[in-house]
């Protein structure tokens, strides 16, 4: 229901604001534009998504993802206790985490989606605690090298575009910790 409330809220607020500020026509045009942009976005990520799911399948069949998840297991076991014994899910999460750490956002999304699909088999239609954890960890994304931002800074005439790295790491780490804490706390109280 959360998304239903947010979505309806966004649409209603836009219309009220548009009427108040006289931007009605802009909002009407934007609604159509947004729907089109969604399909374009999906098409633009289609190739990458298929490619990485294919690469993941190779990693799975060759046992590479199994090795990866053995490496990350000590941490992931604590974050996803209900799936600690599910090798398939653990392998997908490990691949997702590795891609995130390498800064491969394009690869991390398909791999995370696969983990989400495998997790949802146990609780169809409902976001389990583990699924919430997966989503929150991915929205908080620990990125070791934020290349896009660095290129923006470089374009603005910055001599050392990567001097923000320690601050980025610190902020990402705190953000992920806050997300994990929120999931752990809310998981206790939410039905």
């Amino acid at each position: 229901m959360a998304m239903a409330v947010i979505w309806t809220g966004m649409v209603v607020v836009s219309i009220v604001c548009a009427l108040a500020t006289g931007r009605g026509p802009d909002v009407a045009a934007a609604a159509m534009e947004g729907a089109g942009a969604a399909v374009e976005l999906c098409l633009s990520m289609a190739g990458v998504l298929c490619l990485w799911m294919g690469v993941m399948e190779i990693m799975k069949r060759s046992g590479l993802s199994g090795g990866l998840s053995r490496l990350l297991r000590p941490i992931l076991r604590r974050l996803y206790p209900s799936f600690a014994r599910d090798r398939e899910v653990m392998d997908s999460i490990s691949a997702n985490v590795s891609a995130n750490l390498l800064g491969l956002g394009n690869a991390a999304t398909p791999l995370g989606i696969q983990a989400a699909r495998q997790m949802s088999r146990r609780t169809p239609g409902v976001a389990s605690d583990a699924l919430c954890m997966l989503v929150v960890c991915n929205t908080a994304s620990i990125q070791l090298i934020p290349t896009t931002v660095a290129s923006v800074r470089l374009a603005a005439g910055c001599a050392a575009p990567f001097d923000i790295l320690p601050a980025v790491w610190l902020a990402s780490a705190l953000s992920v910790c806050a997300g994990i804490a929120a999931v752990k706390v809310l998981g206790r109280v939410w039905r």
Binding site: I6, C42, A171, V183
Partner: protein
């Protein structure tokens, strides 16, 4: 160093393929089977994104975010966040490209090495497009009851913004 970054993806793919061959896996068959599954996932994501982006585009065009930014500025000063970054913080969870645009604008206006420019850069680097991620993951997994995923993710975003402003102040000033 630049070359190493750009070559990371192709090298990873080649490495995976070589390892697969070494382990006597039919690499090409696996690749095609996995990619085929990707198409099915994509079809599930399209409707979720159509819904989300329609609302996001409407919200952006309506000027609601600008109004909210004005209202929130005094609160942010209290939290130690430069009030100029409020627009960025509001856009960040809903649209990645818009956030990059707003951030780039801040960085070029105030200078990449200014307090505001650095804070904007760190905010961009340490958070994600939350609603997009939630829509894509839950859309693909067919999740209807999202439970506390949205509030928890927004908690992480808020912590990220406060931490970004704090980290820049501590490290640079």
């Amino acid at each position: 160093m630049d070359l190493a970054f750009t070559m990371l993806v192709p090298v990873l793919i080649a490495g995976t393929a070589l390892y697969g061959m070494f382990r006597r896996v039919d690499v090409y068959d696996a690749l095609v089977a996995g990619a085929g599954e990707g198409l099915g996932v994509l079809i599930k994501i399209v409707p979720a994104l159509v819904g989300l982006l329609t609302a996001v585009y409407m919200l952006r065009a309506s000027g609601a975010l600008d109004l909210a930014a004005q209202a929130l500025a005094p609160v942010l000063t209290r939290l130690g966040i430069p009030p100029e970054t409020v627009g960025l913080m509001l856009v960040r969870p809903v649209s990645g490209s818009a956030a990059l645009g707003v951030g780039a604008e801040l960085i070029s206006t105030y200078g990449p090495d200014s307090l505001i420019g650095r804070t904007a850069a760190v905010m961009l680097g340490s958070t994600e497009t939350t609603f997009y991620t939630i829509a894509v993951y839950f859309g693909a997994a067919g999740i209807v009851k999202t439970r506390y995923a949205v509030p928890a993710a927004l908690c992480a975003d808020l912590a990220g913004f406060v931490a970004a402003a704090w980290a820049v102040r501590v490290i640079f000033y």
